[in-house]
């Protein structure tokens, strides 16, 4: 396959940045998208040009580190992570536009690499059950109906990649935040802190500069892990319940 890659290049956060086009040949349909980027970078390095920087690590769709905006969609045309996208999804001669995630709360670090530490801070605001190591009950002393456990699991599969934010016109982090709020609100272990958790995580989400929910569902449509919009509904319910209850208990 021969392709033209229109890639966002930006030296650092202070740089204005812009698109640069690179023709590339000898791409096989069995390559993953990131392997195609590896080929580009090997060629650039050989020519003495700075390779394109992008985030990636596990390359098996679970770490959430890869993050490219491809042809206007987060993670490209398939509902998967960029590392699991293969070149068979593209056709010979195509021009592919590659950009970083675009969001105020995700500043560009270099080229296609963005800073997603805002997500860590949202989790730090309350995305946990406050138990210390040791002194916990036997695992089977907390029976959980299978249906509830399965639904909590579905919410817990979020990989924190940020595609939901990148897909959203408002760069809202509602899907990400709600996945964690839902998981812990559904499980008995999370009951004790559920009200506080919803309030604190949402406050942090707003403080980071993420926008409000558009209610269009673009986030769920692009989520590589299929995190459902139901989580946002649940989080809203959690939030209102917390707000209308005195003493927060």
């Amino acid at each position: 396959m021969k392709l033209t890659l229109k890639v966002w290049r930006q030296k650092n956060n202070a740089d204005k940045g812009g698109f640069v086009s690179y023709p590339i040949g000898g791409i096989s349909k069995d390559m993953s998208f990131l392997e195609m980027m590896d080929v580009l970078n090997e060629q650039l390095t050989e020519k003495g040009e700075d390779p394109v920087h992008f985030d990636h690590d596990c390359r098996e769709g679970i770490c959430g580190m890869c993050s490219l905006h491809i042809n206007g969609k987060p993670h490209g045309p398939q509902q998967t992570t960029t590392c699991q996208l293969h070149m068979r999804s593209f056709s010979d001669g195509e021009t592919i536009t590659i950009e970083p995630w675009r969001a105020k709360a995700f500043p560009v670090v270099k080229d296609l690499v963005v800073d997603r530490s805002a997500f860590d801070r949202i989790i730090q605001a309350g995305g946990y059950v406050s138990v210390n190591t040791g002194g916990v009950p036997d695992a089977n002393e907390i029976p959980i109906p299978k249906k509830i456990a399965d639904e909590a699991f579905d919410a817990a599969t979020c990989i924190g990649c940020g595609a939901c934010v990148a897909a959203c016109k408002n760069a809202s982090a509602m899907l990400f935040t709600s996945a964690k709020v839902s998981q812990l609100a559904m499980l008995p272990q999370g009951q004790v802190e559920r009200k506080d958790r919803a309030e604190k995580m949402i406050a942090q989400m707003d403080a980071e500069g993420f926008g409000a929910c558009t209610n269009t569902g673009a986030c769920a449509a692009e989520c590589p892990k299929g995190i459902s919009l139901t989580n946002i509904a649940r989080m809203n319910r959690e939030y209102f319940t917390a707000a209308f209850t005195t003493e927060n208990v």
Partner: protein
């Protein structure tokens, strides 16, 4: 130096309890006077950092990824073992201990392994309390499955994403301590050196991957939780960033490196499809619970298959060789990983491989789908099947999967004693970064168990013992040793950037990987190892003359990061070869072709090799010095492993 494992005396089942009592404690009010550095935020690192912070220590946690949640523990699929015996099928702490020792081909310490089995039950309690959504039965209690190499169902799992759920649990505990101000996080920061003062580890030197700043951090103790070194093979199931650098720099500062040649080749990975490949993808071996492994019975049939003249589903039952079930009737498809991998290699070497390259075997779900229905199989392995289809473009519900072994885990690592202390006092190694619990072969679902055991339940006690002994006098980074180390790190960076050669870092990494895979992979010979040693030396020389690293230090520079890591792999590779050459026996993942039974099974030499090989670094360009820690077995009888 005599290697003292510090295994407490007394009966196996009482060692850890007694040891916990004998260890010194740090007064609760004094804990805040101690600083601890944790490098790596996978299961071992995140659990250690969180647990130590909960106790009151001041923790600094470092990772090279953009968030602690990305550590490669997240990719573990199948599950985590624990001797809960919830299934009433005869499991016990002793059985888990016994299986692990036997599975490791009698090359692990009894004391360590027993403790691991003992605390395994606490791990499950801890994770459930954190809200980890393990699989459950309809009655609301936890579900278990059996897993490679075990005859009881003791594996807890969260679909095919157990590592993800456990890591997110540990990450949430860590995040809570960050919010409490007890942990300071340093993401996108790589450890470049360990700093020793008066023989004790007193801090580290790091590189900020965004700005290139070389920084120093002092502490009373340093914990390396930096994972394994499988990426020395270039192609492995490890994440692209997984590296040996932290462990290797510690090794060069005096920490012994143990059993480097013990590498695990995982039997169920998606086969290599071409030269462009950047990594290999593992399919959880839980698939072997329901999938049947086979190749055509004859070479002729396999050739037809490779040429596309016949499809897998058209091959009649009589023409299929379910070789694991045939050779190992009692374990069948569930034989341990090393046995399954080696047998896949044998049938492919015979010319019965099933894909274009001839290096693949089938893993077939036809019978399981017929027996249990597609929905049941989807519920068990849905995400794995989807992943397979995404990568290969084939639907495994309809055609058999194709699999081939790939490098997955490294049992070797920094030598540690019972307290997880390396040979440098104050420097600890946890999880895959140490060598201690899996012997020559790790059983499935035991990596997660070990990482969390070390982090949640071992290190909080053992590091306390050390800290209580050294006392809480403040540490700082003003000591000249820090400056010396910073200068060395800067010089090395300068050197890498100034070579301006003609070949990329990946060129060298790929070449190294080929040498290691061919000569130090699934089968090794004295002849091949000798050649490989010479080849690696030559390659390393070429690297330092001709590598091309663009850009500068003072920016995000992924080529420079990689160059550092590959430079270390080029040194580690040679030590792995030395270790494989020295070990004139076959055991677990280490298979020397000269040493095998008539049936082609690994042939151990307990008389001469029942020891841990711990290597001491002596200096640039010098051969490393071998130290032996004898392994003593008081509770198990050493037998030829048999899974027939």
């Amino acid at each position: 130096m005599i290697l003292d494992s510090k295994i407490p005396a007394g009966p196996l089942a009482e060692k850890w309890t007694k040891h916990k009592f004998n260890m010194k404690l740090v007064n609760p009010a004094n804990k805040r006077k101690y600083d601890v550095i944790v490098v790596g935020t996978g299961l071992a690192g995140a659990s250690a950092a969180a647990s130590l912070a909960e106790l009151g220590y001041n923790v600094k946690a470092f990772c090279f990824q953009d968030s602690p949640r990305r550590a490669h523990s997240i990719a573990a699929q199948g599950g985590i073992n624990a001797a809960k015996n919830y299934q009433n099928d005869g499991d016990s702490v002793f059985r888990l201990f016994y299986d692990t020792i036997k599975g490791g081909d009698y090359r692990a310490r009894e004391g360590n392994v027993y403790r691991l089995a003992e605390v395994s039950v606490n791990i499950i309690d801890q994770c459930v309390a954190q809200g980890v959504p393990f699989a459950r039965e309809y009655g609301g209690l936890l579900a278990n499955r059996s897993f490679g190499g075990a005859q009881v169902s003791r594996t807890f799992y969260a679909r095919g994403q157990t590592g993800q759920q456990l890591l997110l649990g540990a990450y949430s505990a860590l995040s809570r301590q960050v919010a409490n101000g007890k942990v300071k996080l340093y993401p996108r920061t790589e450890m470049m050196d360990v700093v020793k003062i008066d023989g004790h580890a007193r801090g580290i030197v790091t590189r900020n991957l965004i700005t290139g700043a070389i920084e120093k951090h002092a502490a009373h103790a340093v914990l390396l939780c930096t994972g394994g070194y499988g990426n020395v093979f270039f192609l492995s199931t490890n994440a692209m960033g997984s590296n040996v650098t932290a462990a290797w720099r510690a090794h060069k500062r005096g920490a012994y490196f143990a059993n480097p040649c013990y590498t695990q080749i995982h039997p169920t990975c998606i086969p290599v499809s071409g030269d462009h490949q950047s990594k290999l993808t593992l399919m959880s071996e839980s698939l072997r619970n329901d999938g049947r492994v086979w190749v055509p019975a004859t070479v002729e049939m396999a050739e037809k298959l490779r040429k596309g003249q016949i499809k897998a589903n058209d091959i009649p039952e009589s023409e299929r060789d379910y070789y694991l079930e045939r050779k190992y009737p009692s374990f069948g498809n569930l034989v341990p990983r090393d046995v399954a991998s080696r047998n896949a290699k044998y049938v492919c070497d015979e010319g019965r491989g099933v894909n274009e390259t001839g290096e693949a075997v089938f893993l077939d779900f036809r019978d399981a789908i017929k027996r249990d229905g597609e929905d049941t199989i989807r519920a068990r392995y849905g995400n794995l099947f989807d992943m397979y289809q995404q990568i290969t473009g084939e639907n495994p519900y309809q055609v058999p999967m194709m699999i081939y072994p790939a490098v997955h885990y490294t049992m070797g690592g920094l030598w540690v004693d019972y307290n997880l202390s390396t040979t440098i006092p104050g420097l600890y190694a946890l999880g895959e970064a140490n060598f201690s619990d899996h012997g020559a072969n790790r059983l499935g679902a035991s990596a997660l168990m070990q990482g969390l055991a070390d982090g949640y339940f071992v290190i909080p006690y053992t590091v306390g013992d050390y800290l209580a002994q050294i006392g809480p006098s403040p540490v700082n980074a003003d000591h000249p040793e820090f400056e010396k180390s910073i200068q060395e790190v800067k010089d090395r960076i300068q050197k890498l950037l100034s070579i301006k050669g003609s070949k990329t870092v990946d060129y060298f990494h790929k070449k190294l990987g080929k040498i290691m895979w061919n000569e130090c992979g699934m089968a090794r010979t004295a002849e091949g190892l000798k050649q490989a040693k010479a080849d690696i030396k030559a390659l390393r020389e070429e690297f330092w003359k001709d590598v091309k690293v663009l850009g500068e230090n003072e920016e995000l520079n992924q080529s420079l990061e990689k160059a550092h890591r590959v430079a270390d792999f080029l040194e580690l590779g040679e030590l792995m070869i030395d270790d494989a050459f020295n070990r004139e026996e076959s055991c677990g993942g280490h298979f020397r072709e000269e040493y095998q039974t008539p049936e082609g099974e690994a042939l151990r030499d307990d008389e001469n090799f029942a020891y841990v090989a711990a290597w001491k670094y002596l200096g640039e360009g010098q051969e490393e010095e071998l130290h032996k820690e004898p392994l003593e077995f008081e509770n198990v009888k050493l037998t030829q492993r048999s899974y027939k």
